[in-house]
Amino acid sequence: MIEQAPALILLVPFFVSIFVALLGNRFQGICFPLSVLSLIGSVAASVTTLGRVINEGTIRYRLGGWEPPMGIEFRIDALNALVAVAVSGVGLLAAIYSKRAVLAETPDKVSQYYTLFLLLITGLLGMVITGDAFNLYVLLEVSALTSYALIAMGPKRATLAAYKYVIIGTIGASFYLLGVGYLYIKTGSLNMFDIHEQLIARDIFDSPAILVAFIVITVGVWIKMAFFPLHAWLPNSYAYAPTTSSAILGPLMTKVMIYVMIRLTFTVFGSDFAFIQLDWSDIIVWMSVVAILAGSISALAQTDLRKMLSFLIIAEVGYMVGGVWLADDMGLVGSIYHIIADAFMTLCVFLFAGIIFVKTGKRDITALDGLFTKMPLTMVGLLVGAFSLIGIPPTAGFFSKWYLIQGGVASGHWEYVIALLISSLINAVLFFRIIEIAYFGVKPAEGHGHHDSDTHESGPNEASFSMLFPLLATAAALLVIGLYNQDIVAIISSFVSQFNFGVIGI
């Protein structure tokens, strides 16, 4: 079965989603265990695949047994194997979390919810592992449709946000489709690697059509990832969606789109085209600087917890886009590493927000009053996530910033470095505001005599295990990703080293 592991990554959740749809209505109880089991399978498959990629190099999996330009293939190298692990891992943790949240938020549509949830993950995984530009579009739409629905299943305000998302998301996807069409018209191929070969073979890099294709695809992907001026759909969608939806969309949707951007920029167009021929990196890095700052500052203005986190996502997207466009080894390594790290960080904080919402029914940060006393373990989870977002060692967030800043320094983009630092500081302000509220809200009872009454005993009211476990597991993952960043970076470097940038980092 190891041969088939690449396909199983997404087939397992896919099949199970259908079973959930078929059986879920009658036996509501099976939805949750089935989903979790399938995602465990998916994680196992993606880890196996990653292991194979490390040992054997790029894996090519031909669907339908057809030779690549005719048929569709999965082409899995270090980059997407890694991202696939992250996606399935985040999916699994979010699924575990969903147990109570779904029952609390969408009690009458459990089976639909899980079907869509699994299909979303299927779509995201499919986007990550596919090697075909058009197939990517189809899976993009699978994940888009599911995410529209997952958001619209939320309360009143979510519906309008979902509507906006439908419109803007469709524009983004259509732009992408259009760009693929341009590429197809010029190269006659849809396979990403083949397109690149054709571009070289026909030597049409300076054709305006390719340029337009590049612009259109990039803009389309940017819309989908909510890169700053194109971000309008994101905050409301994520803030008002059911908590499980935002716990899965927040970390994954944007990150996968960043992966898509990296994949298209490097594999389809090639780094020579993107960075040497176009030489736009200055402009785009500046745009990302604006994105980082705008995201962070808007986050400061929010009192709604999840809305604040949504704006942070926008800032984080800026990190990654900027990191890629630094045109520096280290910047790219940093961006890819940040995809992984940020997926878990965002998951961590969104899970936290979800727990708070389900527990208290409030979305405001004032709901956090005295939480250190009431839910100490939950707060521990948040602390790790927050430290990671701020960039305090040894959490994963620190190291991604480390690499990104290193890239910024090496390529001389000081404005990016400064923006990154400012954003870290703003994150610090944001999270310490939360921590402060949680810490000061209720003063624990004063000690009496020698029998100190202790904070931890004064009636903690923890979230249930199924919610707490993913949160703490994510927090642990953040630490592990941080401590073993060397190994992850080694994997990433094997991808990055294919491209020789002008500036050589470390």
Partner: protein, 498 residues
Amino acid sequence: MSSESITSFTPVFASIVSLLAVLPIALLGKKPNLREGATFVAAFIKFGLVLSMLPAILAGKTIEYTIWEIVPNLEIAFRVDGLGMLFGLVASSLWIVTSLYSIGYMRGLKEHSQTRFFSFFAVSLSATIGVAFAANLFTLYLFYEMLSLATYPLVTHHQDKEARIGGRTYLTYLLSTSIGFVLPAMIFVYVKTGSSMDFSSDGFLNGHIGATEALILLLLFTFGFAKSGLMPFHSWLPGAMVAPTPVSALLHAVAVVKVGVFCILRVYTGVFGTDFLQSLDLGVVVAWIAAFTIVVSSLIALSQDNLKRRLAFSTVGQLSYIILGAALLSDRAVTGSMTHIAMHAVGKITLFMCAGAVFVATGKKYISQMDGLGKKMPITFAAFSIGALSVIGLPPAGGLISKFYLVTGAMDAGQSALLVIFLISTILNAAYLLPIGYRAFFPKDPKLAAEPFSWKNTQEASWQCITPLSVTAVLAVILFIKPQLLLQLAGLMVGGNG
């Protein structure tokens, strides 16, 4: 210099022993005596471990241990040398006394959440020793941040409005400077040198960067380690005085602030290298900033009525002595500043503990309320006076030794203008510290003055409070008489520069 190095796990263990102690402390939360027992055991083990490394260090060796490489060419590594040893000794020995003191203080005031208090206290110590024994800039930064965060719950222990404001200032200053200044500076160094950023006795930046870059880096590092309280990034320290006194005593007279200056010393000697800085003549800039801080903070201290705040500003000034010494770059001055770490630590912790003891016993916070208290609390105020003498730099206390070295170092460096600063500040020190002790024993109010002194009327705080402060007061005197150990350790660092 470090021709010989020993690989040993001891420094790592010395650092994490208190981290490990958090577990029993937290678990024994319901049994205060056992819990404090755990603290003591950890404190003694820690001190023992640090002490056990002393002979090797004195023999001119270093002890190293690398945990693992975390970023290419960059590892979490420990290395013990003279400076680290000196600081480690100070911090770990004072932890023992402070632990005893905190028990007295916390129980005396029936504070809440004592388990949390002791847990984070232990974590802070772990971070402090981690900083002391860090082998490279990265490890240093790691523990530096850990210390900032671990002390936050301690500073805001009271969880009231004042604590909230103080805590906010505390974190704002410490985090923004460390993330905003140190991190980019560190990454810049990393990118420029591509090296592991190991501290070496004569710096590793030489030859990698130009003068302008060096100046920028120097300033980034100097201000970035805001724990050193250099103006204008000093105001977290008075803000942090909302913390319970043991915290102020150990952390804000010893561990935290000394970590700040320690980092600066490390960066000057280990990253830039004194020779390099001297060749660029950069020390002067910092020296004058420090001099400015000394004078201004002393003046502010004069105007404070809250005892702890006065002490805090005094600390700001005293820390700048250390920075000043380091910035002068002459051997004697650097020796002076290293010894001053210890001298000031012992002196200032005494003062803080006295302030705490007064508060525990009488509930008085303000200097103006302390008239005549000396008769009620003779031991406390005796100790206070000794501490004050040490901080001012008068015999029979250790502060004299380090000041002596600093002053002669300034002369060596040819900065005679700074002598004036030393002079002025010493007078100011005397002016803001001596009257407290004096008025406690000899109140102006004739009615209080007339009160006869008798041991029966004394109102000292509990023995747990009194013992530690007496110990440190005695220690201050001992350091005056026998400063050789410190000088020897400091000499290890300076000697190498030849």
